[in-house]
């Protein structure tokens, strides 16, 4: 079974010039995602359309856009559902990140911040095989085991999609705000490290005028995050940790 959908696609020229919407009608499988429809526009109508995609199952974080005005990963956004909300389905690039072309944004500044967070995505089996690795530091440690499968979900679930940046009203008014993803990553990296100095350094990074105190508490990051990372809660947690540190008189 197939469905026919019209997409209203944001287009622009080099450097964000000549901004406009273009309509394209595509026929795709009735289980198609919004990304499948965008890919069909590219494959069958217009090879010049630029959009980012890799994994098609919400794990690489590249494909983030606005679908009908709301941040989403189109690779897991159901096309029929999007059509029910609005026809034609409107697709646009993320907000609060510089436009690179069509549905593509420049993520350099975002990755600068994620890099500074030093968070890694490593994890290891609970009952590991002894593997010869020529002595290299694998940096992987067994996971703390709690009951149930919640233990399988950790901050490393952040796919660095930038959706929380786009959804954040503070980001729109202060481009030096570290932003929900980096602040959440700092909190996670702090849980991971055993080094007390590194823990202090990470907490320092979350502090300051453009750090956790700048957040207005709109909670949009947590609402839109496709991976249930809950950046807003980790911002609030770090505020509590910073207050506690101040109370202990450790602030310089």
């Amino acid at each position: 079974m197939t469905i026919t959908a019209t997409l209203e696609v944001f287009r622009c020229g080099p450097g964000g010039t000549d901004r406009r919407f273009e309509e394209h009608e595509v026929t795709v499988h009735d289980d198609a995602t919004v990304l499948d429809a965008i890919e069909a526009v590219w494959a069958r109508h217009d090879r010049s359309l630029t959009f980012r995609h890799a994994c098609h199952h919400a794990s690489c974080g590249t494909c983030g856009i606005l679908v009908n005005g709301v941040e989403a990963l189109p690779c897991i956004a159901d096309l029929s559902e999007a059509l029910r909300q609005r026809s034609p389905v409107r697709v646009e690039p993320l907000r609060n990140l510089p436009l690179a072309g069509d549905l593509t944004v420049d993520v350099a500044g975002f990755f600068d911040r994620m890099r500074a967070s030093t968070m890694t995505i490593t994890r290891t089996a609970e009952d590991r095989l002894p593997i010869p690795t020529d002595g290299g530091d694998l940096r992987a440690r067994p996971v703390e085991v709690a009951d149930g499968l919640a233990r399988f979900n950790r901050f490393e679930n952040c796919v660095e999609c930038g959706i929380c940046i786009s959804a954040c009203p503070t980001m729109a008014t202060d481009d030096r705000f570290r932003g929900p993803a980096m602040l959440a990553a700092l909190a996670r990296a702090r849980v991971e490290t055993d080094d007390p100095q590194e823990r202090e350094r990470l907490l320092d990074l979350a502090d300051g005028e453009h750090g956790v105190w700048r957040c207005h508490g709109a909670w949009e990051c947590t609402t839109r995050c496709p991976q249930q990372v809950d950046p807003a809660e980790s911002i609030m947690q770090q505020r509590r940790d910073l207050l506690r540190r101040r109370l202990r008189g450790r602030v310089r």
């Binding site: 794990s59 690779c75 890099r115 499968l149």
Partner: protein
Amino acid sequence: MGRPRVIVIGAGSTGAATAHDLALRGVDVVVVERGEVASGTTGRNHCLLHSGGRYCVTDDEAGIECIDENLALRRIMPDLLELNDGLFVATTEEDLAYKDAFLEACARCHIPARELEPDRARQLEPFLTPDVLAAVQVPDGVFEPYRFCLAFLATAQANGAQVRTFTEVVDLDSTNGYVTGVTVVDRLTGRTDTLGADLVINAGGPWAEHLASMAEVDVPVSPTPGVMVTMGRRLNNMVINRLNVPSDGDIVVPQRTTSIIGTTSWSVDDPDHIPIPADHVTRMLDRGRDLLPEIAAASIRGVMAVARPLISKPGVDARLVSRTFECFDHKADGVEGFVTISGGKTTTARAMAEKVADIVCGKLGVDAPCRTTDIPLVDHRRFHARS
């Protein structure tokens, strides 16, 4: 004379690892990729860091290649791997009969393996079927294909390589039987450019045949897609495999918040358009449930399909074609300065890169050994970051 310049077409795992290897050897590398990094086959694969267990019984060569590369990747990208191990699980008498051959093959291919009591396996994996009759633990793991490629490319960049995404090769330029470069269209600006090179490497995955046809040569790459179904919950810690010969729906790879069931195998002509057959999805769910019954209660998060760039062998079923790789120096077809690398897996990308870089360096007179087994890759985020 300056450093020789090589253009690598494709920023999937093969192109990314190749760029890194050549840049380390002092070659001036330019990578051109028509879309985002890993937007071809690599990005959409199963994310399995193979231990070799899936191949060792029928294909020693592929089994050994996998475990060797698995260990090398643990050294060079420790931050990017989930070292979860894998379980090969028997649920039928037929599976059970396969166990001895499996353990022997693991030993033959030096794949560390240990048998777990079914109760212990169930304790480690609470959602594993109660029908488990035997379980063998092997060092499978999980990578994230996009970041896998970014780490290789970021390291290549740190060693001087240029990476141009959204840059599509529309022609290969040649004079007198020598490929001299490529004609590209920059999709962000619409500009057409020609880029000169001493040699061009075709790492175009399932598009390799199309790219080779631009130089009027043929490579026996057959696009062989597979369907994967991603569940909305993570249901396993280790990679769960059926303890038997590879077949449809016999593996569930856990990744972040999801579990991915795979995979089928069929043939297509055009890897740009892979319509997903509905019955493949149902088959994945049915077979996946045999291993993890809880799949029945979970929602589907995504369904995807991509084509393996398998090196086809006339008259051999795609499932049985070796998963190893091949490098084609098109000098043999009367075209100089053009080499194709294809086949293999993301797990073996580093080894593929070593092979093609050895050949390319030999042709260009670059006398530098491969150093990629030991040098740790830089943070994948450096690919996009400015600092």
